[in-house]
């Protein structure tokens, strides 16, 4: 991935924002392909009222044959810097190495709503391929003129166009684009390659950012240095809702080189060195007025049910009363999950430099274009005077769709007249994180004696609808959602909440798949067989059967004592099944996950190795929300502010992981960065039940909760 210093090598030496015409005027020669976004993304953006009227994305073949792909997507570990390049290289018939990704630069890249929702490959990808195919067609037309050979006789390979009847007659893309300035809109006429024709897609290639990331050369927002820059440390309230009454900054001001900036209750220390700025803030004596909030991590659930807004029926079928009458066993249960932090190892960071009427920003963000609007608003600049550059992002998981640190850096740069870096401490990262919301799911379900699910009455509070709809064959069902989803109105949560990897779906899948398991147990059926009996969806059946087979599942009624649990899920268009094997200690409540098997059908796979690594990452990360991760709070104060008490998965937890990606290359690509995390909570909860016969209705499955559940 290229950063600002390299971007200047795009011939234009671009220093001011511009529109498409300006961009084309300033850049040198070459072939430009302007393409539009995929349908689902268009629809999504239309819903947001943010559809750009001009152009969407650029592909440029420079005179020396170098191919630039300019995209508003960012790289935060999910690997699109590689997979998007694979898609383009394959359709264009160039080597992957000749593709240069320019990502998340709001001056150079076309508008993009952000990198989330596992949309990069499934929505942006098809458009990118179309652009590549279109460009190849243009190159063939140019070659036809130059070589005097009809287009039909030409073929492309590794950046060259050849006469297929005389391979000595050929011309390189570099020669074709030299001295030319050709603009094409994607017409949709160019035909995409069939999977059988892929040379680069569908093959595992190493991460293209790996060399820089292992050498220490990869730059993240906090690694950017500009002359005269200062590092900020900001005075923070002790609790959410606390108001500053008084602050004495006199001791801090005495520290050599420290500048104190104050604007109302916004106070910061600035220094050349970040550690000195932090030391200065520690010297500031601030007193606060605190609101007494009765909410904590245990009382929050009753509060949520109390403040729940009117329900929204997501889907329904049949008649619930009839479903109840047809059921032999009716189970009614409530599932809870605590607030969970994103906790990327890189905290939110931004650097803002203001020169005259223009601001340049380097930000750790999943939403550079949103950051641009936010900075413009903060500074009172027109949006086109703000440029956001997105270096590598050190993990996001949804948390970096929120840009508070960017706005803070902009405010301080304006107040101080200097370039300012804001790099949150770990404590600030926990304090201002947009947590995965605490949520409640209530389910009433019924099943017949022979194991047919007849009733499914599902109510989800404040988690959101993603993954809430059940996919089993249930004659009488209704799914109801309360609250807007992962964000909610004022008075709901005592702090900010937001999208956390596969938002909504971890909560919904935990509840649904736990309930399904309990129905199987209630009528003495094996949980895999019971699911298959009630599941006609072919892709889901296939992932479940594949997982069971690879895992070596032997049908048995739970609790069997062996400690195996299953769960199915659908997320971002991808179908997942998972089986976990655990060791659970009834007395201590400790759970150790020994083995996880997972199969997923994600349609076409661009980089199988990259997709597998994402699955493994989902599984391993998922152990955290399943077993330990939760935020405790009292009176607006966040009690878990570092990795000592907020326990994320570590090496000693590593289970044996077996993954299978279903071969489905003929279908459209689906999401890969999130789906496999949704089943982890339920698979483990079900495995714990299978091991020791204890059902826990609240995530994470803390030892004390497992001990407590036995008393009920």
């Amino acid at each position: 991935m290229r950063h600002e210093k390299d971007i200047d090598s795009l011939d234009g030496a671009i220093s001011t924002p511009m529109d498409r015409r300006e961009f084309l005027k300033r850049t040198g020669g070459g072939i430009f392909i302007l393409f539009t976004l995929g349908d689902s993304l268009l629809e999504f953006q239309e819903r947001q009222g943010r559809l750009p009227s001009d152009f969407n994305a650029f592909l440029r073949i420079a005179p020396e044959g170098r191919v630039s792909c300019l995209t508003g997507k960012i790289e935060m570990g999910q690997g699109v810097v590689t997979s998007l390049g694979q898609m383009l290289a394959d359709e264009l018939d160039v080597k992957l190495e000749s593709i240069e990704m320019v990502m998340g630069d709001t001056d150079l890249c076309p508008w993009d709503m952000g990198t989330f929702g596992s949309l990069s490959t499934r929505s942006f990808g098809p458009s990118l391929r179309q652009a590549g195919a279109e460009a190849r067609l243009v190159l063939k037309e140019l070659a036809s003129e130059r070589l005097g050979v009809p287009v039909e006789r030409l073929q492309t390979e590794d950046g060259m166009v050849f006469d297929r009847t005389n391979r000595k007659l050929g011309i390189s893309y570099a020669d074709l684009s030299k001295g030319k300035k050709i603009e094409r809109e994607v017409t949709g006429k160019a035909v995409l390659k069939k999977p059988s024709e892929f040379r680069i897609m569908g093959k595992s290639v190493p991460r293209r950012d790996a060399p820089d990331k292992v050498s220490g050369a990869a730059q993240y927002a906090g690694d950017i240095r500009v002359p005269g820059m200062l590092c900020a440390s900001i005075v923070r309230p002790p609790a959410h809702g606390a108001k500053l009454v008084h602050a004495d900054t006199s001791a801090a001001e005495k520290i050599e080189g420290v500048a104190i900036v104050r604007d109302g209750d916004f106070i910061a220390a600035l220094h050349e060195y970040p550690d000195v700025a932090v030391r200065a803030v520690a010297e500031i004596r601030a007193t606060y007025e605190r609101e007494a909030s009765p909410l904590d991590e245990n009382s929050i659930f009753d509060h949520l049910l109390r403040v729940a807004p009117a329900p929204n029926v997501v889907s329904s079928r049949g008649d619930l009363e009839e479903g109840k009458r047809a059921s032999r066993v009716v189970l009614e249960h409530t599932y809870l999950n605590d607030y969970v932090a994103h906790a990327p190892v890189e905290p939110h960071t931004a650097l803002v430099k203001i020169e005259g009427d223009k601001a340049t920003v380097w930000a750790s963000t999943q939403t550079p274009f949103r950051a641009k609007e936010e900075v413009a608003r903060e500074l009172g600049f027109p949006a086109d005077k703000v440029r956001i550059l997105t270096p590598f992002v050190g993990g996001g998981f949804g948390g970096k769709t929120s840009n508070r640190q960017v706005v803070e850096a902009a405010r301080l740069a304006k107040l101080s007249g200097k370039p300012v870096q804001v790099a949150w401490s770990r404590k600030e990262e926990f304090f201002y994180d947009t947590f995965r919301p605490a949520a409640v799911v209530k389910i009433r379900s019924g099943v017949t004696e022979i194991g047919k699910i007849q009733l499914w009455d599902y109510h989800v509070y404040f988690a959101g609808e993603r993954g809430a709809e059940q996919f089993y064959d249930v004659s009488h069902h209704r799914t109801t959602s309360y609250g807007r989803g992962w964000t909610a109105g004022p008075g709901t949560h005592p702090f900010a909440t937001g999208a956390w990897r596969a938002p909504s779906n971890n909560t919904n899948t935990f509840a649904r798949e736990s309930q399904i398991d309990m129905m199987a147990a209630a009528i003495g059926r094996d949980p895999v067989e019971f699911r298959l009996q009630n599941l006609s969806h072919p892709q889901l059946r296939r992932v479940l059967e594949t997982t069971a087979e690879k895992f070596g599942w032997k049908p048995q009624k739970a609790p069997s004592g062996r400690g195996c649990g299953v769960a199915c899920g659908v997320d971002a268009g991808t179908y997942v099944a998972m089986i976990a094997e655990v060791e659970a200690n009834k007395r201590s409540g400790e759970v150790k996950v020994k083995r996880i098997g997972c199969a997923q059908d994600m349609g076409m796979v661009v980089n199988p190795e990259g997709a597998t690594v994402q699955m493994e990452g989902c599984i391993m990360m998922g152990l955290g929300y399943a077993l330990t991760e939760r935020i405790r709070f009292r009176g607006g104060d966040i009690l878990d502010v570092n990795f000592d008490t907020y326990e994320v998965p570590r090496f000693s937890w590593l289970p044996s992981i077996e993954t299978v990606i279903i071969d489905n290359m003929e279908s459209a690509p689906q999401g890969g960065g999130e789906p496999a995390i949704v089943t982890v909570g339920a698979a483990i909860a079900n495995a714990v039940y299978d091991a020791i016969g204890v059902r826990v209705f609240r995530l994470p499955l803390l030892p004390e909760r497992i001990r407590e559940a036995q008393k009920r």
Binding site: R207, D223, D275, F651
Partner: protein, 158 residues
Amino acid sequence: MKETIDLTLNGKPVKVTTDSNRMLLWVLRTDLHLTGTKYGCGENYCGACTVLVENEATRSCHVTLKDVRGKNVVTIEGLAKRGSLHPLQKAFADHNALQCGYCTPGMIMTAVSLLHKNPTPTPSEILEGMNDNLCRCAAHNRIVQAIESVSTTSKGGI
């Protein structure tokens, strides 16, 4: 207290004049422009800031500049020799043992120290040796494979 501290950094003698009570992490990142060493938690919990001090994996957020006076300090930038990556750096790249890459320098430095002390660790020794380095993208599986590959191929000769 402002003073001049001598140390060997990535094989070269270096003099740094600053408050010697400052943490090594910030001196490396700001005064010495070596930004490969990362801040993750500031309190010795995550390992993103790990460097080698006399070949021992050391949390640079938790040692002061004066603690490394006269010592041999190696950061991620100092691992490659004559332009070729250290075997562990290469193994991390080859095994997809990273995603966002932010914890990677600390992971590699910890692994270098681990193999220095124990050239042929068992899988459980690797898990134990790496246990206090956190990777939120959860590339653990691949990191273990990368370390195993080096301990096998080099027979400890790194």
